[in-house]
Symmetry: C2
Subunit: 246 residues, 2 copies
DNA sequence: TCGCTATATTGGTCCAACCATAGAGAGGGG
DNA sequence: CCCCTCTCTATGGTTGGACCAATATAGCGA
């Protein structure tokens, strides 16, 4: 007997689930847009015909999902959030605690997805986007020399995002950002030591991109990624998970 | 579950944030494992020294993060969840939903990602996974004949998830699920009319997969996706977002 | 005009009930 | 002895009231 989802339950979900679904719907059809402010909790409770506590649980759901951001005070409230793939990545990180997600899995997925990204970007990217990538590499190089590790890590990851943006496809940009954020979570366990290699590889990649040589660009990316992967595996980060034995 | 006061009182930030952090910590160090049951809301409220409402918001947070699953009734409660890639995918899907996307963007991204998925699945998929895909197509065919549109749409989209699972890469599975969620929303807006074409194309695809002919399989998928895209564009679905009139 | 204060509005927390659900165990009939 | 049913009860779900904490804004006073 298959789980018959054929019929929706008449008294289906919890009340706050329904509220979240309605807000999601408004988001989808455009009646709510990023930056918009939801009515206050008290007003929502009245409009939905539920108690304020129920509304709060719904809002909590949306906050965790990254759909809204909450502001305190008189002009506060629940505001539709700007798209933030980082939230999604955090969800992945949570899943990481439960599932067995190895560094190999992520590297492999990146290898696949980024191959596409590089190839498409090679065809489509504008001069301006190419310059932005150059600037990014320069900044990483500079920050690395200064020893500004924290800022450097951010700019570092941003390279992948810029590359994904260069495909001109927003879906791809979001997917890439999520993976990049996830990667950064894992890379924390590795520590900083590979800057030189990364920067040099990226400069080679940029040269191929400028020449619109997709094959060479993809090859450079793949070689670099595999090399990086090997270095990580032989480095401090060993297991497929963070160790939980004392 | 130890009957000592295993939890420290919570206060500093928002109270429920602290609660979630503590539970996360217990999960990390192994004092809580998948399948374990958290104390009841009332007991947790007592142990944490907060109200039951606050505990509920914390539990809601953990539920959204996919950390726990809730069960109703006498032996119910909050149970540490088994790993579920679908949970992580929902967060990504939310991020995608906040971005302004056109159908072209999604189709293009699918074309790219699914090309990879098909190719890899062709190499790695087991007989069992192939059979699951066959069963899926059969069920879609049956539901379509019965006119069970709603359930059909779900099973329909599940095809892509099964395919992604066949790559054996959980990251890929999550990425695909995110896009599939998006796709299901769109498919509902478009309405049912393309079933025959889809089913027939999928049967051809499965034949290629069974023969381990990656090139033909990828080609079949790409041809089908482009065709579908054209049909949608000339159909009821016009704008770059779903519009709900009335 | 500038700066401070009062106030209104908002989210954050708490309480004490009640409802709906579903497992568990008691009871009856075979 | 076993199986079915029925009730009992612990659980999450919901309610509506109250108060606290933060904060933007209007209004007052120097």
């Amino acid at each position: 007997m298959p789980d018959e989802l054929a019929f929706r339950p008449a008294r289906p979900r919890r009340a706050f689930d329904e509220i979240v679904t309605q807000v999601r719907g408004m988001l989808r059809d455009g009646s709510l847009r990023p930056g918009d402010r939801l009515p206050s909790e008290r007003l929502l409770a009245e409009q939905f015909g539920v108690s304020r506590n129920t509304v709060r649980e719904a809002i909590r759901m949306m906050e965790i999902s990254g759909l809204v951001r909450l502001k305190l005070g008189a002009a506060g409230g629940a505001f539709i959030a700007e798209p933030d793939p980082g939230i999604a990545a955090r969800g992945l990180a949570d899943a990481l605690q439960l599932t067995t997600l190895s560094l190999s899995d992520i590297t492999e997925a990146r290898l696949w997805v980024e191959s596409i990204v590089v190839r498409v970007a090679c065809e489509r990217m504008t001069e301006e986007q190419l310059r932005a990538l150059h600037d990014n590499v320069d900044e990483v190089s500079k920050l690395s020399a200064e020893g500004n590790w924290e800022r450097k890590a951010i700019v570092h990851v941003e390279f992948h995002n810029l590359l994904a943006d260069a495909t001109g496809n927003p879906v791809m940009a979001v997917l890439m950002r999520s993976m990049a954020d996830l990667l950064r979570e894992l890379a924390l366990a590795v520590g900083p030591s590979t800057d030189d290699i990364i920067v040099r590889s990226r400069r080679r990649l940029l040269r191929h991109l400028r020449n619109r040589d997709a094959d060479k660009a993809v090859l450079e990316m793949q070689r670099h990624l595999k090399r990086l992967h090997r270095m990580w595996l032989t480095g401090a980060y060993q297991g497929s998970r963070t160790s939980r034995s004392g």
